[in-house]
Symmetry: C2
Subunit: 378 residues, 2 copies
């Protein structure tokens, strides 16, 4: 007897494999058309089966958010890895160990001090690290502005210090605050233009800068032109979620990750159905709170995955979820949603919800469920 | 060479063992004075060393939020376990297995339908489950109101069906919305009074109800009188956090859990210091958002654990944190907080932040750090 959605222990993270495959092909097809490599950010899934599906579709290398993810990918045969968080000096020994094992690990920096720490450590250990310079294309978080004099200083420190100056990279994270195609197209162009300009400035100074890497799921799915860009990084597209839906780049029917939950009680006069999917399962992510449509802690669906209009996971405690209905609807909640029956919840943010689970349960069209483990921690 | 706060990989969950011990003794001392048993809720730590410290101080039994926690406690010699989430029928086989191994597992229900499912399963397997009825003492979440006719029906279904009617239990979760001692004292009395009244109603109907269990950290630390109550459940007091501070039951100097983080960059003109403690480390919990004082994603401290006034973890992405300073302060952030240096962040919600980590690093006054693993998942 194999596990099904009716027999799995709940809460459980369910992956719809067919939807995931369609999402992978959609992004890969776009990048193929635009003529750039795709380097998926595997922080969303942290799961080998998912990463392998992305590589099989044509991805060249991966992006990671921790060195543990880099070690996981390299141990599973993926040697081209970009660690896309500014390198902390204390993590250089871990990066060195990966390089010495044969991993083609790229690391990033956005400061003279950070670059100097890489050079000092690299020279001490006779290692020519492959370094990318992070560019700030939208004021979102990290990176050097293209007109900051530190940009060429960092490039000079790295190159002069014997490191491999691989290229420039940026992430237009402010794309998460948008919700129109026009705005996304403009931001994608700004992301491209700024990063290419940074590469040109470095090259004009007589330094090498062969690679130009940009990306976020919303800009990657909106860009009309990627001239001068060599690769795109994107992560959450593989599963999609309610935040991406509000931004306008996916429909609920494309969301591949949901949380399977069991009904454990009711407060009928309040219009509440109590579930075993609290914040421990959903995460505390409220990414849709500031968007056009607030989905509270998630959109409630039938066990088959069809959205139940008007049913949101309105509140969560650690292991309790509260699905809220308008009391005026006069629904017989105890009869419609009996204790022990099951539902699925679409999350606000797939990266955050996935991280609450030690494994996914992947289901295909046969109804059979397989367990795919995922990485967590550091 | 042993690990220290200067050498640990970051981000890391740091437990201050002396603070934790003081928190344990404070709560246990209060319960001893009030003449009730303490049954700590171990969902906060999910860590054997922490639970053992609570038991050593005088706790009698534990409360859990998942059956996996129950299995963990029982495997480690703790046999008296209350699973304080309404029993889903699909989880009864797991509860039965624990009972058959000798665990004194208590389960709860708050509906006739839930009670009937327990009876049906218990009778089928000749198991007299120990069942508690959940009471709603403040409209917060689950439970039966004391005047709901279903209360006696549930008691009758359980008792008539051969289950052991152990008692009534409630959790005044609305205590998290308060911030004055007077309001907390009033709610603690309401929690006590309501649960005792429910027990009296069951006894008046000729049914057994020996135990009366109440609790939340804020009400447990505020109650003046627990007459009629036999045991108290509380969880987060063992670590405390910024939400508890805003409620008024602890000071920052009592918080035992913090996240060790490394500085990886700056955006000086914005007053930003970038760290490697994103939401993956802190959790997405924004529990102080609706309280009197909003601590964003956490209060920044020195590596020694002293609060840096005015420094909050203002923003987080998956593996990036942004510490925000008022630009008007004119601080030389790159010099004050150089790349590679370390800080600690006090979290909004210790249960949520702890859950992001596979283990804690416990530090004692010697400066030595030991690794304590914790449970996650279901």
């Amino acid at each position: 007897m194999f596990a099904t959605l009716e027999t799995l222990e709940t809460p459980a993270a369910i992956l719809d494999e067919a939807r995931m495959q369609r999402n992978i092909l959609r992004m890969q097809g776009r990048m193929d058309t635009l003529g750039v490599r795709l380097r998926p950010h595997i922080k969303t899934s942290k799961c080998l089966q998912v990463i392998e599906a992305q590589m099989a579709a044509g991805a060249l290398g991966v992006t990671v958010s921790t060195l543990k993810e880099a070690e996981y990918c390299f141990a599973n045969g993926i040697a081209d890895v970009l660690y896309a968080v500014a390198m902390a000096p204390g993590k250089l020994p871990q990066a060195l160990a990966l390089k010495r094992q044969g991993c083609r690990l790229g690391i990033i920096t956005d400061s003279v001090s950070g670059a100097q720490a890489i050079v000092d450590f690299g020279q001490k250990h006779d290692e020519h690290f492959e370094v990318w310079i992070e560019i700030d294309s939208d004021g979102h978080r990290s990176g050097l502005k293209v007109n900051d004099p530190a940009l060429l200083q960092v490039a000079q420190v790295l190159y002069g210090g014997g490191m491999q100056l691989v290229g420039v990279m940026t992430h237009a994270g402010s794309s998460y605050e948008m919700h129109s195609l026009q705005a996304l197209q403009a931001l994608a162009e700004q992301e491209r233009f700024t990063c290419v300009a940074a590469a040109q400035a470095i090259r004009a100074a007589g330094l090498p800068c062969p690679q130009v890497s940009v990306g976020s799921t919303p800009t990657a799915l909106s860009a009309l032109n990627l001239e001068g860009v060599t690769e795109v990084r994107a992560g959450v597209y593989v599963f999609f979620d309610l935040v991406m839906h509000n931004i306008g780049v996916c429909q609920p029917e494309e969301m591949a990750l949901s949380v399977l939950t069991t009904i454990i009680g009711h407060q009928v006069e309040k219009g509440w159905v109590i579930t075993d999917s609290g914040w421990m399962a959903m995460s505390r992510d409220r990414g849709t709170q500031k968007q056009n449509r607030d989905f509270a802690y998630g959109q409630v669906c039938t066990i088959e995955g069809d959205c139940i209009q008007g049913a949101l996971l309105g509140g969560v405690n650690q292991e309790h979820g509260i699905i809220t209905f308008e009391p005026e609807l006069g629904l017989d909640l105890a009869a419609l949603f009996p204790i022990g029956s099951r539902l699925r919840i679409l999350p606000n943010h797939a990266c955050a919800t996935g991280a609450q689970f030690p494994h996914y349960h992947a289901c295909d069209t046969s109804g059979q469920v397989r367990t795919w483990s995922r990485l967590n921690g550091w």
